[in-house]
Amino acid sequence: MFNQKNKKISKEIIRKRLNDFFILMIICFIIITINLWYLQIIKGQEFEQRAINNCIRSLVEEAPRGEVYDHQGKLLVTNRPAVNFSIIPAEVSDYKYLVDELSLIIPIESSNIANVIQSKMLNPFQALTIKRDLEKDKIVSIEEQKYKFKGALLTVQPERKYLYQNLAAHILGYVNEISEKELKMSDFNQLAGGDIIGKSGLERYYDSYLRGDKGKKEVEVDALGREVATIKIQKPVAGYDIYLTLNSELQQFVERQMYGKRGAVIVSEPFTGKVLAMVSYPDYNPNIFTQQMSVAQWKEISENKDNVLCNRNIQSVYPPGSVFKIITAVAALEEGVVNRNSKIYCPGYYQVGDMVFKCWKESGHGNLAIVEAIANSCNVFFYTVGQKLGIDKLSYYARLMGFGEETGIDLPGEQEGLVPSSDWKKKTINQSWFPGDTVNLSIGQGFLLVTPLQIHNMLCLIANDGFYFRPYHVEKIVSQSGEIVKELKPELIKKIEVSQETFRIIKEGMKKVVESGTGHLANIEEVKVAGKTGTAQNPQGENHAWFIGFAPYDKPEICVTVLVENGGDGSAAAAPIAADIIRKYFQSKYNEMVKAEHF
């Protein structure tokens, strides 16, 4: 039957080969066992965590931000329910299809969606917002075609609503999604991508109070996303409400005065530091940030040549012009360069070496003492005393009165401005300080740069005889249960070392400004106003018009600073606006008093 010889040879080979085969098997199983050891013993904990992450889905419930009220308790900022389009990345099987279908309903840039998903996805089982705040008809369309959006869901989240649109936009600020950069900041260390934070203004400054705590629901789900069990529920806690010092009626009035202009206005109480109105114009509507903006929209608002997002009161710097003469006057009086009666002759020009500096009145003011010099804003008077004081004294008093540093107001992004000195000039432009620079500085021109708020602070110091209160917007912060979390009292920062006599002389001069001087357009029947005009030359174009004033003269209640960019003459462009504001303030006050008597 068999060839015995062949069979024997074959059998032997086969026996050997079978042994080889078994060795091969053993090698394979050893590899498998080593791999099992690696997966289960060495990496076991890591994989167990991954398994747990797989099945626990945390649903975040946004906390409504705190509301914002003005000083009379009028609601300015609240929340409204908005419907967001979210996806659960793990449940979306076909992104392209989903995005294509969605783009038929909502204009979206599909490349953006992919980026959003890539950059924000922490956990593929956590809902991710793709499009915020859908319009009603879009919601209906999506609901109707629900079957097309596998893995997507509509969630209701509170969205910020600014009830009076543009009103006090720069003070209130706006909210939007946290940026990559902000995520790394310590203020926001508990936040995650996609969270909403205050981006500017009070929304930003008081963000930690307004924000509240997100609610969290952790549920166990199976692979199909069905909830199997609830593990943890944590209700969202609404943020604290904020009550402002702001008088929204006055704010609105001032905004109307500034309509069509560019500039800044601040109204505050000098003896407390409370800001009653702060206007930066042109303004914007913070509500637009709650909807997701397209790139074009963002460009339009951020690259606007009028710089609408900038709060000019604290974020822009200007030459102060003649308003600065008050500092020169204070310095001159304090340093004994002049006294109340010292007269200086103004021929209409002033000569330093071979340079000639003109007074604004070409025919000259003739002989005048400091009160008249302020009232008429005589350049030559201040050139002369400024020259006598020298740069170091001038910059000392400028700093003493708060220039060159932040005021400490409760708003983010404040600029310091610039008080020049001989050292500064040497360091930055490598030139020595010329006498002509001092002459320029003494009337608020040249290198000096200030924010309107710094000018306003100087005004308050004068009105207040040297008591410096920190300017602020928030009276109290109240929790949802009505408990006062924080109450902000007027904060006396310092008392300026300037004699009362000096303040008296300066104020007298400022009274004269309005009575008979450059600021006569601010002269109103209702109340005695003291002030100072300024017409700041600037290389960019028309002069900036300044007016600062307080009222009543003998017992100042409010201080008003008006800056009209490229408005021309301070006396003509800025003073009437200040006058209207002061009149409005005292009229409302009078009306309220009458009302109070009636009831």
Partner: protein, 383 residues
């Protein structure tokens, strides 16, 4: 014991009953014990992963079905054991052609499940002809190689089996079922290797395979390509095609040393693991029974395979050796690919795990394989 006394003598005895009683006494009970152990482990795991769903369908529906598969398998096992394999080999060629016909049939008339036609429905039963073809291929190749053994191994000797297998592979690839096609190829390769093909041919085959790879690649379907690519980097598409591999690895890894316990695996109980009572059943064992459980399973498999090797070595003739080799290769390939795939060591090809995975035809095929081993073992005792 003289040569004249061997197998034919036993089967031509006077009392049929007595013969089979004698056979029964010499059955390889160790092998049966090992297989029983595997089946019980499989039933436990299947029950663990499916007990929740069955509430709607009737308690233990899938587990009960698997039990029926096992019992049916045992019946076929017994049948195959008692018929002398020399007699079975007599119909090797008709069996092979029957497989071919069924595989052609299934391409056109098979039941379409998830885009592939693998099932034949016949008289209320469903079965996969590809599984049946595995056994017929083993028998057919054993017969062929046995008949050719007189020849000094030459080119024809080793290339003809590949030709036959190639036809089967092509038909199975048409279903499409890449995994099974690979199993056919591997069985053939191993059988030829064991049959004593010279090393130079083995090396030649590998060179040809490597050089043919780019051509083969172009024949693959997109999903098959993506599976192979994902094998290299499953994180490439964690929610799409890489999902299965990642979830399976996570399941195995989370088992740790002793596992999370039956009915307590996160991945398996919450269905994050796909095909968990069929292709990814090993991951369930890894998760719920841990390293120790997986090691127990692997040990059982090694013992079964070792038994297979011993039976092949002690077979009364080359035919028996080749059949036992084929069966052992078949099981080994299935175990290797299935376990390797579950751990991300091999591309996901969707091969079931012998005696563990849920599935009727495959279970019966396994038992027929065991039947063949027992058959050869019985006949070798009297050599």
């Amino acid at each position: 014991m003289s040569v004249e006394l061997k197998s034919s003598n036993i089967l031509s005895g006077k009392s049929f009953f007595n013969q089979h009683l004698r056979l029964f006494k010499h059955v390889d009970f160790t092998l049966i014990f090992l297989v029983t152990g595997l089946c019980i482990l499989g039933l436990l795991v299947i029950y663990s992963t499916t007990h929740q769903e069955n509430i709607n369908e009737g308690v233990m529906q899938i587990t009960r079905r698997q039990l029926i598969h096992i019992l049916t398998g045992l019946f076929f096992c017994l049948l195959v054991t008692i018929i002398d394999y020399h007699d079975i080999v007599k119909i090797a060629i008709p069996l092979f052609f029957l497989s071919l016909i069924m595989l052609v049939y299934v391409i056109f008339f098979g039941k379409n499940v998830g885009g592939s036609r693998r099932w034949i429905q016949l008289a209320g039963f469903e079965f996969q002809p590809a599984e049946f073809a595995k056994i017929t291929l083993i028998i057919f190749l054993a017969d062929f190689l046995n008949k050719q053994k007189e020849e000094i191994p030459n080119f024809l000797y080793f290339s003809l089996p590949f030709f036959f297998t190639g036809i089967l592979m092509l038909l199975i690839y048409k279903q499409p079922d890449l995994g099974t096609a690979i199993v056919f190829f591997a069985i053939t390769l191993l059988m030829i290797f064991i049959a004593g093909i010279s090393w130079k041919y083995i090396i030649a085959v590998f060179i040809i395979l490597v050089s043919l790879f780019p051509i083969g690649w172009s024949f693959l379907k997109d999903y098959q390509k993506s599976r192979l690519l994902l094998f290299l980097n499953p994180e490439m598409d964690p929610l799409g095609a890489g999902y299965n591999i990642i979830q399976s690895k996570v399941a195995i890894g989370s088992g740790g040393l002793f596992g999370q316990g039956l009915f307590s695996g996160i991945q398996s109980q919450l269905k994050f693991l796909p095909a968990q009572h069929t292709d990814f059943v090993f991951a369930v064992i890894g998760e719920e029974l841990g390293f120790m459980g997986a090691l127990l399973l692997i040990s059982l498999f090694i013992l079964v395979l070792w038994k297979g090797i011993r039976i092949a070595q002690e077979a009364p003739d080359i035919l028996g050796t080749l059949i036992a080799t084929g069966v052992t290769s078949f099981m080994f390939i299935h175990i290797l690919i299935n376990v390797g795939m579950s751990m991300g060591l091999m591309p996901a090809t969707g091969l079931p795990l012998p005696f563990i995975s849920h599935g009727g035809t495959f279970m019966i095929t396994n038992f027929i394989g065991i039947g063949l081993l027992l058959n050869i073992h019985l006949r070798s005792i009297f050599v």
